[in-house]
Subunit: 339 residues, 4 copies
């Protein structure tokens, strides 16, 4: 039985509590939040758990083996660090930290302390992403030429982070998992409201080696909700629409054909297209957070590396940080290497 | 009765011929194309028209008052120039020219010769764009914060122009008409296939004064066809989906509300959102090209300036040119002023 | 504080428990289910409630004022009857009873005992239905000519009731609430699998006075989920799509125009159509079951008649019963009057 | 070179003229219409064809081998009969005739005269229907349990035929082609406007042997256009949406599974469902009318039986007629056998 301490009972914390508490392999030893109203709700739902405003009480508890950190981003680094130094494994909300330096230090301390760092990249545990992973690994798409992500809706403007830090970790963690490659340069352009201190709309553009690009539209001020990713391969292409009820993944047997014998083209090749069937594979429908929770408990038990580990959190954080720098430089490309 | 000469009977020329020939106010005097098979088709459909491989025959004809130029882009400038110097009015396919310098010279010559230059920005004559124009002019959207255009599908890779020159003139001409403003900077990033000489996927990013931005996803290698524009205002927002059968324009009574009394925000304002009804206005359903043809004939008859005149063509061409330069500079912002 | 006893903790019972238990005006005194596994789950979630396999324990409890009956249909009548005779108010799952005779007796006993009978017609408390009710009551649709309901998906074939009893109460209760009229005749046709004892696909057809009809497609064997109702008026029409995220109700300003001067029609009138804007009104987004629970607690407290009372349950049951009879008679129309 | 005479140049005639005139294997010898404006349009488009108000001129012409009949329904029978007796093959608009007796006589005369009768069931020549035909013939759907057709939109109310005669021939001809079976009984219910003489909304219900049913919603007074057919098999199911741009046919690997070992079901079987991938096969995209025209010219040349022959026209007409009778009998089932 793995003992769990949860820090942060705002928007996401209750979901973590609900899912972990339903698993037989663990129990919620304690829940910490600074706000009294939230502590009241936690106490009502988890009567056998300690509810406290002092996170140290959880770090000090010998019953607690795993700390879940679901606070605002600025507290991820100090709380993760203290938890690890107190001998706990940690699961940290995305993004892992504000800066890549913070992320690196969390990784370093965990390595030295032989503690596990997991980042809550929940989408990696969804049936849709798992299915795409299988398709990409099989090579059936041909060469991947581009990934285009649109994640927009009408949402409350946050104050502590901009729309990139808020929304992009989802797509960045999915792409990181799917293609296992780091971009070379990052560009980002954004706008903020005159009375607001962070961007509410941003475009981010990543360039990888071998002419692969990834592009992101992130927006809190859109009239409709769109969650759609296009993955363009030379042989097949994917449309991933997370708002579709059952056909979230569509694989199009469409691609390009290079013809070299075309007389019109003056000895150049001609690129034509080819179109075949579309398949929407059946997807695993279990709740991703539940799959993730089981996976992380298994990692804690067996001392193995989680699918989304500290390094994955670092890679995402590093891109967010570079995007922030690009915005400050008026959209100029920022190299990841030189940072 | 206005006499018309049509140069170019490839993809778009037959549409111009079909629509103009159906109007009582004009007649197709002659059609020119270099390819014999196309001339054969023209001759079969328009038995009373001259069909020729020599465009000079049309320029020399005293019966011809208006020349329609529907050739590849590289011939727009020389043919428009010669037509105007031969005393003809011209309607030129989009984009007006390859470079802004060419476009400027066409305008200059036309002004000196008192000839009319129209550019075939067909979308300006659609019910959808006309309806959006009315909405934007009324001010009911509040401040426009962004325009986001996605125009993607699986299409034949062209050789003479890249995907920006091919697809962006539609959106640029619409935006030019809707907001009547010039961008300050242009950025563009694109990819091309290793065996191909022009970009098949590009993103273009325009910045205007007062924090307005416009962004474009242009793509010949997408598995699905998307033609969708979001216009985000502070009071209302529009979704324009040109593939919708009847509800192409949706106006969302959604926007942001600035709250200054929020205690959580430490004396900063809080920006919240507001959501109301959606209205899809009834749209005029006449074929846009027919509306355009009537408009241009009226301009020719009354010597008035067409809705899409040479200046509109120049403004679009100048942005295309700047986008091209930005791609060559690795996505760096290019100022329109300094050109 | 109203004390509540819940009988039946299978599919729907836990939802009732969740929603009522969250309201401050009541508390769950006890929960009854015959199956041990369900009692285990109930006990875990509601630690302060009695959990029992004997419903009489709830009927006998002086703390219980309202009994919620969420059992299979066959037990609705006996449990409602006993609850009322024990002095309790009741909320019964839909359909109220297997037969109109049972429903009538429940109503009679409740009237004599001055107890409240509510039927769980949850949709009546949704923002979508409330909005439609306002539109219909305003008269802006003109004369209602037809209502067409499609409620299909791939679902587990039930054994105790056929697809009409399972799915039609939703649509019948909505229509009953919207138009407040009883049909004159009922027709139904259905098919059952050779190895199955109840219909898994059925069409039901109701005729009202003044040429109004309502038609239903009810299906457990459909590859896609559809929840769509068309309401056709002579002046406006509604499409109600319950699977739409935010635009569940669309009001089309479309209708017919009668022209009497048409020469083609040989002195008959000509009926033409008219088309205008479409409006998707903003809907109240509170959970319908929560709205309903508050309403019913208020009725219990103030001794008022619930929106969906025993009579509403009777009217729905009577139509279900007639549909069953029509199926047995090979689809022949069954008159409601003569029953 | 097959000579063609076209009778009727109203709504559909011009389409027939356009498609047949573009084929090298035939030429339009003459076009007949009673209205002068239509003759004017025909003359302008087909300068080498005779244009006349007297159909006898076409029947008398030795150059004409095939008569296309695109008049109102009431003239199909007399014109087809006279054309055949004049030695011509005929292609008749759908439905073939007003009554099955008329259809039978057309067939009889044609058989005696060794003339070809084709009915313009255009959908049979579409890529979508051809693909469905292949799937059904392969048996992969398992047993077909039902076919549900919705064909509704806002349309001009016709005077000479009701909505069943207007819209149902499309679906009936498709089903006839797909399953090659005759229904046993036909039911139909419809409503008409008080000022109008024919039904503008109707439901039609066919029962076949072996528990197969087909159901139709046909409607001129719907706010939205729907063209959707569900085909439910025990192993797979099809959704055919003719308004989809490219994915008109979706094949769902969904079906039912019979479990006999279920303890809950008291020795009865339990029917559960199974869900797998969805495939949208690539469809032939040629214009169906062009495929049909080539097919019919080939039949005329080779004296072979067309895909949609007089018998197909008869079968469709017989169902329309029975539906009409059922409406007159208040929706009672009408047997096809006894007619």
């Amino acid at each position: 039985m793995i003992g769990i301490g949860l820090i942060g009972y705002g928007y996401w914390g209750p979901n973590l509590a609900r899912v972990f508490s339903a698993l037989p392999a663990c129990r919620i030893v304690g829940i910490c939040d600074l706000r009294e109203d939230r502590r009241g709700r936690a106490a009502q739902s988890y009567r056998d758990s300690i509810v406290t405003s002092d996170y140290k009480q959880l770090l000090d508890s010998p019953e607690v083996q795993l700390i879940l950190i679901a606070t605002p981003v600025q507290f991820h680094y100090p709380l993760a660090k203290k938890s690890i130094l107190a001998g706990k494994d940690v699961l940290v909300e995305k993004p892992l930290a504000r800066t890549s330096a913070e992320a690196e230090e969390i990784i370093r301390i965990a390595r030295e302390s032989r503690r596990i760092v997991a980042v809550d990249h929940t989408f990696l545990y969804s049936g849709a992403v798992e299915t795409m992973k299988g398709i990409l690994d099989s090579g059936e798409l041909g060469e991947i030429r581009y990934i285009d992500c649109v994640r927009v809706n009408l949402g409350i403007f946050q104050h502590d982070v901009n729309v990139i830090y808020d929304l992009a970790p989802h797509d960045l963690s999915i792409i990181d998992y799917l293609i296992r490659r780091d971009p070379v340069t990052v560009q980002a352009m954004g706008i903020r409201h005159e009375n607001h201190n962070v961007e509410h709309l941003a475009y981010m553009h990543l360039e990888y080696e071998d002419d692969l690009i990834a592009h992101f539209h992130l927006n809190w001020l859109a009239p409709v909700k769109i969650r759609r990713t296009l993955i363009g391969g030379t042989k097949k292409m994917i449309v991933y629409d997370d708002l579709e009820q059952s056909e979230k993944i569509k694989v199009y047997d469409k691609g390009i054909v290079i013809r070299s014998d075309d007389q019109d083209s003056l000895n150049r090749v001609r690129i034509d297209y080819r179109t075949g069937d579309m398949v929407a594979p059946r997807l695993e429908s279990r709740e991703p957070l539940e799959v993730e929770a089981e996976h992380i408990l298994s990692c804690v038990r067996n001392r193995t590396r989680p699918r989304a580990d500290g390094e994955a959190g670092f890679r995402v954080t590093r891109i967010l940080e570079a995007a922030q720098r690009s915005i400050q430089r008026g959209g100029a490309p920022v190299s990841l290497e030189s940072d």
